[in-house]
């Protein structure tokens, strides 16, 4: 496993830990998993259940909140606290929970429809506020639970039940969207790459503030093979760009391709792997321009040249911490609240 850059784990500060050795089994609930056989969601579930013991957190202080969709059934399978809420609203619900309980590790599970259609507003505002949440966005580029309509990440022209002549809409790129929404942590990974998935999850959990992780997830029933070119041994090396902080951005067999900035236009373009101007990835850059440009490399239709890994990881105070600080400051400067004095007010008078 590629260990994440050792940051400490500010994202988990305040969450009680345990010395007891934890196992994957402890994080597995007794509920029968009901996804279709072969669904990419299984791999993500296994990765999360397998990786959580590494954090050493008190299991009762972990909460998974989800919306509605196939992926949103996830919390039922975790032996932690959990809420399967309503379509699109998980980021809002999790915001109230995380802001009022700094001692919890709060995870949001959502789908491409859940997060980007009905819940788009909540997603961008959670990112903007930088609530201390880790959001796992299962992107299968389709509405799974409602049996196969196109989603806001489906490629234009997609034939589905609701678009028999092809969809008319340009898709969202969730990473670009998150960067535009002032996100402080944005990453992408793939359901089938357990090692990469785990390393990204680990970095996301360590981040304080909202971490958005887009997970390319195969829906083998309604959108099978949506990420095939990124997974197939024969094609993947040529089209998948693995981002490593501090490393040159190279891809292709033996790193024969690279990415550099076009000095004339300022945009990113593919170059030879040994190009002297090759871009070095800096996820911690304050300015999100380069992370955004990297996110635009992917072809919106085929997803060829999709970067995976951590695009952006910068520090900004988390919403809940700022809120707690105001409460502390108020209590310190004005004294703890006195209910009787509040009720009496400054303009009272006495009778009898």
């Amino acid at each position: 496993m590629t260990a994440p850059v050792e940051l400490g784990r500010p994202g988990l500060t305040g969450v009680p830990t345990t010395d007891a050795k934890q196992t994957k089994k402890e994080f597995t609930s007794d509920q029968e998993v009901r996804w279709c056989p072969g669904c990419g969601d299984y791999a993500v579930l296994a990765a999360v259940q397998g990786f959580l013991p590494d954090l050493g957190l008190a299991r009762e202080n972990i909460v998974f909140v989800s919306g509605i969709g196939c992926s949103s059934r996830f919390p039922y399978y975790m032996n932690t606290y959990g809420m399967h809420s309503i379509h699109g609203r998980a980021p809002a619900i999790a915001t109230g929970l995380a802001a009022s309980r700094p001692d919890l590790s709060v995870w949001v599970i959502t789908g491409d429809g859940d997060a980007l259609s009905i819940g788009g507003n909540h997603l961008i505002h959670a990112l903007r506020r930088n609530v201390n949440l880790t959001i796992l966005l299962f992107n299968n580029r389709i509405y799974g639970l409602t049996k196969g309509q196109y989603s806001p990440t489906s490629e234009q022209g997609k034939i589905t039940k609701s678009t028999p002549m092809g969809s008319l809409e340009a898709p969202f790129n969730p990473v670009s969207l998150a960067l535009g929404a002032e996100a402080t942590f944005v990453a992408r990974t793939i359901d089938s790459d357990r090692q990469h998935l785990t390393s990204v999850l680990s970095a996301a959990a360590a981040h304080r503030g909202t971490s958005l992780v887009e997970i390319y997830q195969n829906c083998n029933i309604f959108n099978d093979g949506a990420f095939e070119i990124l997974k197939n041994r024969d094609s993947r090396d040529e089209v998948l760009i693995r981002l490593e902080h501090g490393e040159p951005v190279r891809f292709g067999a033996d790193g024969r391709h690279g990415v550099r900035r076009n000095p004339a236009t300022g945009s990113l373009e593919v170059c030879a792997g040994d190009d002297p101007g090759i871009l070095v990835h800096d996820a911690t850059a304050d300015d999100p321009t380069q992370a955004f440009a990297l996110s635009r490399l992917a072809d919106p239709g085929t997803l060829a040249r999709s970067p995976i890994g951590v695009f952006r990881r910068v520090e900004r105070p988390a919403y809940g911490d700022l809120m707690s600080a105001q409460l502390d400051e108020a209590a310190q400067t004005q004294g703890e609240g006195d209910l009787q004095a509040l009720l009496r007010g400054n303009d009272s008078w006495t009778v009898g």
Partner: protein, 619 residues
Amino acid sequence: MTVKHVRELDRVVIRFAGDSGDGMQLTGDRFTAETASFGNDLSTLPNFPAEIRAPAGTMPGVSSFQLHFANYDILTPGDAPDVLVAMNPAALKANLPDVPKGATIIVDTGDFTPRALKKVGWDTNPLEDTTLSAYKVHALDLSGITMEALAPFDLSRKDASRSKNMFALGLLSWMYGRSIDGTVTFLREKFASRETIRDANIAALKAGWNYGETTEDFAVSYQVKPAAMPAGTYRNITGNLALSYGLIAAARQSGLPLFLGSYPITPASDILHELSRHKRFGVRTFQAEDEVAAIGAALGASFGGALGVTTTSGPGVALKGETVGLAVSLELPLVIVDVQRGGPSTGLPTKTEQADLLQVLYGRNGESPVPVVAASSPSDCFHAAIEAVRIAVTYRTPVFLLSDGYLANGSEPWRVPDAESLPVIHPNFATELNHDDDGERDFWPYLRDPETLARPWAVPGTPGLEHRIGGIEKLDGPGTISYDPNNHERMVRLRQAKVDGVAGIGDLEVEDPSGAARLLVVGWGSTYGPIGAAVRRARKAGHNVAQAHLRHLNPMPANTGDVLRSYDRVLVPEMNLGQLALLLRGTYLVDVVGYNRVRGLPFKAEELADVIMEEVGAL
């Protein structure tokens, strides 16, 4: 100096009216504060346009503040003003239809130019023709006199004339023997950093008082003696403030931290503003991106063991519906405050109505029972809020708390309760495994308390009680997903039975001093005052009338049907087209009759009294 007479009155209704920019709300607030501390009973009705600054001098831009004060206990802000203070032609024209003949009108002539008159459709000057011949008119150039009084200050004409509301306040304070000391202190604090403005306003206030004292125009001043009130500490309070304090008090009484999720909307925003000021009480306020997020965050906080509250008005309730349903299914405490306003759609944002009753009861998918509590007066919002929290926490359920625009902004004196005497609310968090599974202990999140049918509230952080809940139907007891037909029916009926069984709501009490009334008048919410005043009038006129008022709309008190059936006639006045009437007819099969107005204003006591006497007469 002229000899001044003092005449004694038992009650007075004053209405201040002017442009939205004339400071009429502030003027009214200050007169109210002085009247309250003088010891009169009082009730107020602010009335302002939805636009922040409607075009100056136009009828839609008129803002007014009505105050009723008396030497006895009163119930309404008064049907019609005895005194109208009109700061411009638009204010005079807009309010004149409400002023009874013989009443006093104090009018600022400063702005009675042909152009200003034309703006409101007056071809001739009403001060010079017969328009006002039936009234006692004091036509004064308030703007001019104020500017003259402020000549020593280094102020532009415009700035000087801005203080004319303080001049008017000073004059009215003299007329009714109110002190102006409190207002002087208030102005000192408000304009502490702007000395000239501070001193000019204080000078204008005093000039107004002196004007009354010295000019011959005002030969008489009036005295309204303090009302006899039970001993105690009093303050004046609006509904929104009382509601905010009720929530803070309930949080303390339950030991739960208060979390408010809210999206600004008139007339509920002031609760968000108020609670945001009380962080020292541990109150967290979250201004969300929309109403859905606001209630979502509140529900998330409740899941974490906070007292989750969301505040809104009718349009916001419409957006929150799906999340209220989720809260019904999750069975978590949550308070949804609906400060009702005129609808449908944007409707009348700044005016009152009580037409959301059916929305809060039935505006959701599926069988989704939610308890409903309605406040009956501005100060009652305090106790109603505590009651809503009690039900929410005890029964692990969302609860609707209904207020409305009239209660929200209207005010009355309030006997400040002893904080130690407030009811204690027990969250009773679950901390232990609660079920035996073949010798092994486990936790069932939907194992109900046999008495209340409430489920255990186990908050994250409690070891061993990890569990998952959601909006999908749950197996009775274990709370795991279940699509079983019989289980669903059982759960639907259990949720209904839990709400139907909410205890501690008391009987519906009837007030009938005669003991012989055959007509019962039933109301809910903010109509309490107007109905009470109307019933008093009818009784004074020699009629026997009984009155009852519902605080709990769901469930209703157990004796409601018996009470209704024991009268020959039941009259239900409502500021909607008959929503409670529909419920009473449907639930109790009693042929109640409605009296329904939706003018965006509270009922007038006289109008209601006529209706009541007509009903009695028909018996």
